[in-house]
Symmetry: C3
Subunit: 456 residues, 3 copies
């Protein structure tokens, strides 16, 4: 439960709002790289943090993210001509480069210097990991991109997709942090109703993990413990990158710890692969949900990519989108709710994990009225995430920018982690191990970078 004031503080993102100012200090996934495929391609309308912008790639391949309205009389540059290193307004031919500078003003006398005084708002746009990243903070000191797997992975080893969501971004983050809901929202009735005898049949598997706790396959274990223990105990620890959120479930004297990472300002990374989600505010009422997949062992196969790309409903994404990245399931068709399916096959009657997430998150209202909530022990991660963001928002209001925004290395090596430990191992021990692992991964990655740099 939040006060109305704190709910407003956390969910409003327009220019001048405290949360808006905080988010503007971070790089944000803004659009897919494929939306700006080459020099002088069609410009793209981008709405981000309540601002109407235009993204384009100029003749030299430079990326621009500028105000949509021409400086002259505000005709939309979307209708403009992307040509010869700039976007030219079709109304009177004024032309702007990727920095927002007016580089041609044919309507003025040739000896006029009016052009040099005219600018449009311009932000920085950068391509990495199949994503176009926007930096909407102060343009005189642009930080480095965050060191996340999606940013650093080689082509072929990464995949990204986005979908539009008709709700505020915060409730989408909350869904991403919440480890418990998979037991319900994303389950089939078959799994949901599995009994003690089913668990008994899993004993050999469990014994294997007891002998070699670190040989675990998170997905396999997740299914066992999801079935066996429906009330995970959640604890969360603040870190430099955000929060380590540990969910503990216990069976037969053993605890399965699942550490989901919340990375500032709106990323989550589960212990599955070093991908995860970004929940990027379009405005107060809608957001983009980006999904990242990264695999380091080998490139994705064509068939894996096709499955992920089409958002096939039996795959993990499960929210097929149209050519504008709008989901085919939406509030207008009850997210394809099928009551027969709900009675006979799965918990929701909706196919696709993404569609299931959207159905509940959007159904909470455009902005959840958090004064009406009743949070339980499973919501500790959500509570801690809100506290962290509130603290940072208040720091920001006091003029103190978030450290993580300017220190991309805090994200280096962060991974979701699963642990299998006997019940007497404490949370503190476990989270310590998680943070140690992250540190080890970070050192390994930094060594690799040094070696690579030496080769070149």
């Amino acid at each position: 439960m939040l006060s109305q004031e704190d709910n407003e503080l956390l969910t409003r993102v327009g220019p001048g709002t405290p949360m808006g100012e905080l988010l503007r200090r971070f790089w944000m996934p803004a659009l897919m790289a494929e939306e700006l495929p080459g020099p002088d391609c069609d410009p793209v309308r981008v709405r981000l943090l309540g601002e109407d912008l235009l993204a384009f790639r100029d003749t030299s391949g430079r990326l621009g993210l500028v105000a949509q309205g021409c400086a002259h009389r505000l005709a939309s540059l979307y209708f403009g001509r992307n040509e010869e290193d700039g976007i030219r307004c079709v109304y009177h031919g004024w032309k702007f480069d990727v920095k927002g500078r007016c580089v041609d003003m044919p309507t003025e006398p040739s000896d006029s210097n009016f052009k040099d005084k005219v600018r449009i708002k311009a932000y920085t746009l950068r391509e990495a990991g199949g994503i176009m990243w926007a930096y909407m903070g102060p343009q005189d000191s642009i930080p480095e991109l965050p060191r996340m797997p999606i940013v650093e992975a080689a082509e072929g080893h990464r995949f990204a997709i986005k979908r539009f969501q008709e709700s505020n971004f915060l409730q989408a983050i909350e869904g991403g942090i919440d480890s418990a809901h998979t037991r319900y929202l994303h389950t089939t009735l078959d799994f949901y109703h599995r009994t003690e005898s089913y668990l008994a049949s899993l004993k050999p598997l469990l014994d294997r993990f007891k002998q070699d706790p670190d040989s675990l396959d998170p997905d396999e274990l997740d299914q066992i413990f999801r079935t066996a223990d429906k009330a995970p105990r959640i604890t969360a620890t603040r870190t430099d990158y955000g929060l380590a959120v540990g969910a503990r479930t216990s069976v037969e004297g053993m605890s399965y710890w699942r550490f989901n990472q919340f990375m500032l300002p709106f990323y989550t990374m589960p212990p599955r692969d070093p991908g995860g989600h970004a929940f990027v505010p379009i405005d107060d009422k809608s957001c983009w949900v980006f999904t990242f997949r990264v695999r380091t062992d080998r490139p994705f196969s064509m068939s894996e990519i096709r499955t992920m790309r089409t958002g096939q409903t039996d795959g993990r994404f499960g929210a097929p989108v149209d050519e504008n990245y709008f989901p085919l399931a939406h509030s207008g068709n009850d997210f394809t709710l099928d009551r027969k399916l709900q009675r006979e096959y799965n918990f929701t009657g909706i196919i696709g994990t993404g569609n299931q997430d959207m159905a509940v998150q959007v159904s909470m209202g455009t902005i959840v009225d958090r004064t009406q909530e009743h949070l339980g022990v499973i919501d500790v991660g959500i509570i801690e995430m809100r506290r962290l963001l509130l603290d940072l928002v208040k720091d920001m209001q006091a003029g103190k920018a978030p450290l993580a925004a300017t220190n991309p290395e805090v994200f280096d090596g962060v991974r979701g982690v699963s642990l299998m430990r006997s019940n007497d191992v404490t949370y503190e021990t476990c989270v310590g191990e998680v943070l140690q692992r992250i540190d080890q991964t970070k050192q390994k990655l930094q060594q690799l970078r040094v070696q690579e740099a030496a080769v070149h």
Copy 2:
């Protein structure tokens, strides 16, 4: 004409509004019984008095009308599973019974008593007369259902249907009270233009009624007097159930009195059959128009039911609806206005009395600006209805609940009445006779109930 303040007072129905509080003291038709056909059937979203609710029937057949948002984090229970005597949220499996009690909270440790502290808002829903009735007032003292024919009639002897209307409920009530408009809105040109010579031809019929005034067939008389006298004089008398609204028309020394009943808080019953209408606020901007038909002499025939059900346009209802009870005629298609038909066939160029009512009532604006009206002698019923409701609203604001809400027997025996009397019989005599008849009917019904109770 009303002041803007009184217009607001009478038309706003959300939680906390004075009229909203008044209406919450009465049972209200909320949905059709057929919408919740059996145990564990699909839950139904219900918006009533500006509140978003969920109606469902549990495994034991009990009816629930609860808040749509789960107590946990407000995901809509509409997406929930209706199973094992409760509705279970698909997000985290919290489950609520028809009383709004949380009966399962699988995400909490088994020794937690958090569940017992959590409730969602729950109102009372009851089935009677093919209708689901909601009581949204204080749940610690639920009155009995109003003793109206639709509630008391045996199956087969009653029929109910509803349609959505894109306007505030009050102007819909006003249409139901207004006896005069049938002469215009619902007439064909043939009738409208009937002349003196036509009236002369009706003299034998009139003579019959003079000899036996109480042998009248309201429909037959209505047509005669509607043609003969286009300016009925209206008088209204307050009663314990609401208002008796008498409309007097005179031909050849005889007066035809038509008493239309207004029953609190939003019912009308014309002197045709003991059915009538209920105008139930969905919110400030829309309402459900329920139409009831009851016949005591025999059950409705299959063909009568089919006619009423399909809202056939030559029948009385005349507002066919789709599977969601939304009229096929609506503001988007000018209520099927056909100008050729209007020139050649009927007054409006719209087929169907329901469609005709909707066309004018919706065209007045979502909420009529009653500061701009010019009311005449035919509007006395409307004026008195507003005064009555304003008095009750003000009583309610002063903490005094409406008597009719907790005294269901005030509605017992109320019927629309037609009288044929010589011109020198006064209104007072006539209304006295109407109230006497109601009293007689009430006594007869109460005797029947005693007899019936004795048999069982």
Copy 3:
């Protein structure tokens, strides 16, 4: 650039707003004459200056423009019966004539005089030039219609059409005044990229004009100078009818002067034919764009009329509309923007000058935020138009009505004018010549009227 206050002052047109009051002093094109084709035809809903009105033609052919809501209980008279010299409400048969007087009130006793006290708002509607003109100012002193060619031209010699535009009217006027944008918005790439060598090839033509400056064909010259000089210098002079806006472009020692006329309160007339545009506010958010064509030499041919009527995209209008005068190109389909066409054929990738105008004008936002503009030398006409309207609005607030509204002869003889003069001829000389020509035309027209009156 305007202050927010002045922007509000210039763009808000509802009842009681200063600009609304100013506009109400002028006759305004309200609908097409063809929309009210004959006695007792279907009434037409008209929204003008934020008021919902009904236009109709009664049995005697008189025109009415009245409030849409019936005086009784505000049912829309649109559903009414247009019959026997009045519009009759279908709810209770109240009937109103074109003056808004209640002429029948069948629901009241025959001796009642209530009818005589009841009126609905009525404005004056008059047909001229294929247009229905509305006067919404004080109805006790109706001025004469403005003496414009479209009003005065004989049938066959004039043509009018209208289209809906999803923006405030002021930015539409600004587009009409702005002579510079044709070089960009309405150009093909072929013309846009024409080079010095092309200009050289035009030298013979230019020489001809030097010898006989007044033998010019504006369209021909416009194309030459549009290509040769992309930065016209604009000057504007206040007149009794509005503004003479001169645009000067220079090539080879010669100046081409193009005087576009702004006529109060929202007309423009370019130097092409004595037609032009009217930009009529529907409300703050939308307007009607009327286009007039007049030719005095001969009647329009059938084929010219067909071309203009269908808004053929290679013609001047270039904004085909549906049967309700709604453009087929609109914001929902990006005004038919075609990027391939934009790369290969014309400046915008949109076919049709009207569609091109709409695309940029609507894209500026429903009401342009003029506090964000950067105006240049080409915008002097726009700046002066705003100043003129602001002065008149402030006069109006001080109780001083605009002179042009009550003096229709100020528009008499006003024409767009093109001049070809050597570079040393000043603006003052040119505008003097323009005003002298207008005066000559005015005298000629007045003589013709005297002669015509003498014949009759």
